[in-house]
C-alpha cells in the first residue's frame, strides 16, 4: 500500500489552502477531489474577503498565496455595497459600503472554477516538491483505522495510508457522516442558495454600474423579492459576468415551499435588476423550410458560427485588456479595425441571415448550493480521531445581517488545520489530545469563531448609521424600541452586552424573521422608495432549459436513494429541489432525472453521497 503523510479530502478553496500551507511547511500531502477537475463542483455567491480584525488574526488569502494580488485570479474588488429594500416597483437603497469595508483589507467577487484553478496551480507546485500533489476525479468512499494506520478507500484508486486527514469536503461532508463526527445539518441550520451567472461585456458593465476597471459593485435585495421568505437576493459584478442569486433559510422555504428558481426569477424580473443585466442579443431568423434539408442544415451551422464569432469578438472588443492583447499580438492593427469588423459582422447577420437584435439578457449558468449557518451549526469540536474538519464541512459560514462570508473562513480554518497537522507530524503524535484538541482550540481562538458567537457592537453601529435616514416610525413598535435603543451609544453597548450574555442563539429568532427580511423592507420601499421601471421583459429560461445547459458526466449508478417516499419532507422536495429532480408519483416521491447539481437540499431524508469520481455536475463558472 502506498503511504502519504497527509490526505486532504476535497479540492475547494479550504482544501487547497491546507495543501498549500502544509507543503510550504515542508510536509507531504495528497489532495483528493471528486470532480473531474479542480473547481468543477464548487459554487459560491460569492465574495472572498481579506480581514484585519481588531482582536486576533485571520489567515488571509494573500498570506497563503503571495501572488494573489498581482495575478488577480479574482473578478473585481468590490468597492460599492448597497442594500436595496424592494416593493413591487419601488426601491429604497441604503449604502452599506462602510459595513463591507469594516475590518476588511478588501473583498472581491470570485467565480470558483477560475479561482480554484489558480489556487491549484499555486498549491500543486509546492506540493510536488514534497512528493505530494492533487488527484482529481477520485471520490473517497471510506476511511478506516487498522493496525495503527488510517486507510483511505476510494472508488477509483488503490487504497492509501495517511497519518492525518483534513476533511474539507463541503457542507454535505460525507467524511463527517461516515465517521459520525457530526449529524447531517438540519434545515434550520442551513441556507439554500441558487445563482445564475449572466454575461455582460466588461466595459458595458463598467459604464452601467459606474465602476472603474478594478472596481466592483455588490447589491443586496430584501423585501418584496423574497416572496415572504427569510433571506434575500444578491447581484455581484464579476469581470465580464454578473452573479445574481437568492439565498434563503431552508426551514423558511420548507414552511412555505416555493421553487428556488422562482426566487431567482423574481429577482431577474425586478425592474431594477432587469435593467442592470440587459444586453444586446441576436435572435435567429426563420430558415426557409422549403429549402433542401442539407441547405437548411448548412444555414443553421453558418448561423451558429457567426453568432459565436460575433459574441467572442464583442466580448474582446469591450475589454481593455483583451483589445490591447489582440493588437499587441498583431491580430488587429488598431481597436478601430476591430470595431469596423464587428459592425460588418453585425450587418451580415441581419442582411444575410435575417437576424434581429433584441434587448434581453444572456444567462450562462444556473447553480445551487447549501450554505451552513455557522451561528447555528458550527462544529464545536471540529475533529474526529486524526481527522480535522475545515470550512463548510465543519459548518462554518458567517451570516450576520448583510455580512456574508464563507470562503475566507474556510481558508482560515484550513491554515489552522495544516499548522496543527504539521505540528503533529513533527512530534509523530496524532492523538486526539494532541492533534484534534490543539486544532479545536486554534479554531476557537479565530476571530471568525468570535463573530459566530457574539454580536460586534461596532459593526452594528456602522450598520445603524447607514440606516439612520430611515424614519423610526416606519418600524413597528416591537422594532422601534430596539432601533431607538440601538441609536444611543450607552444603551447600545448595554443591549449588545446583554444580548451576548443571553446567548446569540436565543436572540436569533427575534432578529431573523419575516418581519425584518420582508415586511419592514417592503414598507420602506413603498413609503420612501424611488419608482423603477425596465424597458423590456427578460426572457427567462425554464428550469428544463437551464438544466439542459449544464454539463453533466452521467453516472449509471444513482448517488441518491429516497428513503421515505411518502414523507412530508420529500413531498416538499418536489418543489424545493433546485433542478426539479423529484416528481410525485402514485407510490410517493421518485427521482425523475439525474440532472442533480449535488446541492444536498434533499440530503436530510435521503441516502445521499457525492457521485463517483469525475461523475455528476461539472460547473464552468462556479
Amino acid at each position: 500500500m502506498e503511504k502519504y503523510d497527509v490526505a486532504i479530502i476535497g479540492g475547494g478553496s479550504a482544501g487547497l489552502a491546507a495543501l498549500k500551507r502544509l507543503s510550504t511547511l515542508g510536509k507531504q500531502a495528497v489532495l483528493f477531489e471528486a470532480g473531474e477537475k479542480i473547481g468543477s463542483k464548487n459554487i459560491s455567491g460569492g465574495i472572498l474577503y481579506s480581514k484585519k480584525p481588531k482582536n486576533g488574526k485571520t489567515h488571509n488569502v494573500e498570506d497563503i498565496y503571495e501572488n494573489f494580488l498581482t495575478d488577480r485570479p479574482y473578478e473585481r474588488k468590490i468597492t460599492k455595497y448597497v442594500l436595496h429594500a424592494t416593493s413591487k416597483d419601488k426601491i429604497f437603497s441604503i449604502d452599506l459600503t462602510a459595513a463591507h469595508e469594516y475590518e476588511a483589507n478588501f473583498g472581491c467577487s470570485v467565480l470558483m472554477s477560475k479561482l480554484n484553478q489558480w489556487f491549484l496551480q499555486q498549491a500543486q507546485e509546492t506540493a510536488e516538491k514534497q512528493g505530494g500533489g492533487v488527484v482529481s476525479g477520485v471520490h473517497v468512499k471510506d476511511i478506516r483505522w487498522e493496525e495503527g494506520q488510517t486507510i483511505v478507500q476510494t472508488n477509483e484508486l488503490e487504497e492509501v495510508a495517511a497519518k492525518a486527514i483534513i476533511a474539507a469536503d463541503g457542507v454535505n461532508s460525507e467524511i463527517a457522516y461516515m465517521t459520525g463526527a457530526r449529524q447531517k445539518f438540519s434545515p434550520n441550520q442551513l441556507y439554500q442558495g441558487v445563482k445564475v451567472v449572466v454575461k455582460l461585456p466588461e466595459e458595458i458593465m463598467n459604464e452601467r454600474f459606474s465602476i472603474g476597471e478594478d472596481e466592483g459593485a455588490a447589491h443586496l435585495f430584501a423585501g418584496d423579492v423574497t416572496m415572504d421568505h427569510i433571506g434575500g437576493g444578491f447581484l455581484y459584478t464579476n469581470r465580464d459576468t454578473l452573479s445574481v442569486g437568492a439565498v434563503y433559510h431552508l426551514d423558511s422555504l420548507l414552511e412555505t415551499p416555493v421553487e428556488p428558481y422562482e426566487l431567482v426569477n423574481t429577482l431577474l424580473r425586478n425592474p431594477m435588476i432587469s435593467d442592470l443585466i440587459r444586453d444586446e442579443v441576436p435572435v435567429r431568423g426563420e430558415i426557409d423550410k422549403n429549402l433542401a434539408k442539407e441547405e437548411q442544415m448548412r444555414i443553421r451551422f453558418a448561423v451558429t458560427k457567426i453568432i459565436k464569432t460575433w459574441t467572442e469578438m464583442r466580448e474582446a472588443y469591450y475589454s481593455k485588456g483583451e483589445r490591447e492583447r489582440l493588437v499587441r499580438e498583431g491580430k488587429y492593427s488598431a481597436p478601430e479595425e476591430m470595431e469596423a469588423q464587428l459592425s460588418s459582422i453585425r450587418d451580415q447577420m441581419s442582411t444575410k441571415y435575417g437576424m434581429k437584435f433584441e434587448t434581453d439578457y444572456v444567462e450562462a449558468e444556473y447553480s445551487a448550493k447549501l450554505v451552513p449557518d455557522g451561528k447555528r451549526c458550527r462544529m464545536e469540536k471540529p475533529y474526529f480521531k486524526n481527522i480535522l474538519f475545515a470550512g463548510d464541512a465543519a459548518g462554518r459560514g458567517i451570516f450576520v445581517g448583510p455580512r456574508i462570508e464563507g470562503l475566507n473562513v474556510g481558508i482560515d480554518d484550513a491554515v489552522r488545520a495544516a499548522d496543527a497537522v504539521a505540528r503533529a507530524l513533527d512530534k509523530n503524535n496524532f492523538d486526539e489530545n494532541y492533534l484534534g484538541q490543539y486544532y479545536s482550540q486554534s479554531v476557537e481562538e479565530s476571530p471568525y469563531t468570535h463573530d459566530l458567537k457574539s454580536i460586534d457592537k461596532d459593526y452594528l453601529k456602522i450598520f445603524l448609521d447607514a440606516a439612520k435616514d430611515v424614519p423610526k416610525d416606519i418600524i413597528n413598535s416591537k422594532y422601534g424600541m430596539v432601533v431607538k435603543m440601538m441609536s444611543s451609544k450607552t444603551l447600545r453597548n448595554f443591549a449588545v452586552g446583554f444580548a451576548n450574555i443571553l446567548g446569540y442563539e436565543k436572540i436569533l429568532p427575534i432578529i431573523e424573521t419575516v418581519e425584518t427580511y420582508v415586511r419592514v423592507p417592503t414598507e420602506l420601499a413603498e413609503r420612501l422608495g424611488k419608482s423603477v421601471s425596465s424597458s423590456y421583459t427578460p426572457t427567462i429560461p425554464s428550469i428544463a432549459q437551464r438544466v439542459a445547459k449544464l454539463k453533466f458526466n452521467d453516472d449509471s449508478v444513482s448517488h441518491i436513494k429516497v428513503l421515505k417516499p411518502t414523507s412530508e419532507f420529500m413531498k416538499k422536495m418536489t418543489v424545493l429541489c433546485p433542478t426539479r429532480c423529484y416528481l410525485m408519483e402514485k407510490n410517493g416521491v421518485m427521482i425523475q432525472h439525474e440532472g442533480c447539481v449535488e446541492c444536498g437540499t434533499c440530503a436530510e431524508e435521503t441516502e445521499w453521497s457525492h457521485p463517483r469520481g469525475e461523475k455528476g455536475i461539472n460547473y464552468q463558472f462556479g
Binding site: E2, Y4, V30, Q124, E128, G132, G133, V134, V135, V138, L157, E158, V160, E294, E295, R298, R300, F301, A302, T304, K305, K308, A544
Partner: protein
C-alpha cells in the same frame, strides 16, 4: 533496462463540430473556412502513448505528414502527451498521396527518428478519409507486428514484451476481448473505446506532473519540432506523393437517401402530459413486437 521508445502517427482533420465546420452551397466541405484540428482518433492514439510515459517514463515522438499549418496540431498533441519530439514531414511532392504513399513517408520518417521504436501508435481511422489503411500499411512497411483494435495494453520493459487486449469480432459475435502477448517492437492501432486507467495515487501524481510539463513544453513547442522534407527523410521519390499512389478516385457520388418508411410524430415539450403520450406510444409499438 532500456527506456521505452514510442512513436505516434497522427493526422490533421477538419473540425466537424457545429459552429466550426462550414459547407459550400453544393454540400462539399469548405476547407478554407473550416478549422483544422488533431483528428479525434489520432487524439486517442496520443493518449495511449501518454500512458506509456506515465507508467514507464517512455520517450514519445509524434509525427505527421502535412502542410506547414499542421504544426499547431502537433503542438496540441504535445500538450496532450508531453511529447519529447515532434516531426512534421512537409514537402510539395507529398501532395496527392493516398494511404500507401502516406505510409511510405511515415515509415521513412520513423526510421529516421532517434533510436529504435518499441511501439508505434496510430488511430483507428481518420474521420475525413475513414479508410483505416494508413496505420496497417505503415506497420507493414516497417515490418512490425500489427495489433489492431487495441483497448488496453501493458508493457513489460524487462522481458521486452507487451500484452494487449483487442476488441474483435469472432465467429459472428461482436465485442469479444482477445488477449495477445507479443515481443516488442509492435505497431498498435488503438481502438476508439480505449481509455487509460491509472490505479494508484503515485501514477495519478505522475500524470499531473507530466501534464504540467506538457503545458510548459507546448508553449515552446518549436524547440521540440523538426520540419523535414522528402530528401531529409530519404524517402524514395517513386513511392511518395501522387506518383506513389496507386489509388484512383474515379468519381465521388452522394449516397442516395432512402425513402423514409417510418411515420414519425413529433411530440413537443417535456411536461407530464407529453411524456405520458410518449410512453403510451412506446408501449403501443412494443406490444406488437416479438422479442426473441
Amino acid at each position: 533496462m532500456d527506456p521505452v521508445n514510442v512513436a505516434v502517427i497522427v493526422k490533421m482533420e477538419p473540425d466537424f463540430s457545429e459552429g466550426n465546420v462550414s459547407y459550400n452551397p453544393d454540400g462539399t466541405l469548405n476547407r478554407a473556412e473550416t478549422k483544422n484540428i488533431l483528428g479525434p482518433h489520432s487524439a486517442i492514439a496520443v493518449n495511449a502513448a501518454f500512458y506509456a510515459k506515465i507508467k514507464h517514463g517512455a520517450k514519445i515522438s509524434i509525427c505527421t505528414m502535412g502542410p506547414p499549418v499542421a504544426e499547431s496540431m502537433l503542438q496540441h498533441s504535445q500538450l496532450m502527451s508531453d511529447a519529447d519530439e515532434l516531426y512534421l514531414y512537409s514537402d510539395r511532392i507529398f501532395a496527392g498521396a493516398d494511404t500507401l504513399a502516406t505510409a511510405e513517408v511515415l515509415k521513412s520518417g520513423i526510421l529516421k527518428m532517434q533510436g529504435k521504436m518499441d511501439i508505434v501508435f496510430s488511430g483507428h481511422r481518420a474521420s475525413d478519409g475513414e479508410t483505416g489503411q494508413t496505420g496497417p500499411q505503415t506497420a507493414w512497411k516497417l515490418g512490425m507486428t500489427f495489433l489492431g483494435n487495441v483497448i488496453d495494453y501493458e508493457i513489460d520493459p524487462e522481458s521486452r514484451t507487451i500484452r494487449v487486449k483487442r476488441l474483435v469480432r469472432l465467429q459472428g459475435i461482436y465485442d469479444v476481448v482477445e488477449e495477445v502477448e507479443a515481443p516488442l517492437p509492435v505497431f498498435i492501432a488503438i481502438d476508439p473505446s480505449y481509455k487509460p486507467k491509472f490505479n494508484t495515487v503515485s501514477q495519478r501524481l505522475a500524470y499531473e506532473k507530466y501534464q504540467k510539463e506538457a503545458r510548459q513544453r507546448s508553449q515552446d513547442f518549436k524547440q521540440y519540432l523538426k520540419v523535414l522534407n522528402a530528401a531529409q527523410i530519404e524517402a524514395d521519390p517513386k513511392l511518395i506523393g501522387i506518383s506513389g499512389s496507386p489509388t484512383i478516385v474515379y468519381k465521388v457520388e452522394r449516397i442516395p437517401k432512402g425513402k423514409a418508411t417510418r411515420q414519425a410524430e413529433i411530440i413537443d415539450g417535456s411536461d407530464q402530459e407529453q411524456i405520458r403520450r410518449i410512453v403510451a406510444k412506446m408501449r403501443q409499438s412494443l406490444s406488437t413486437m416479438v422479442i426473441k
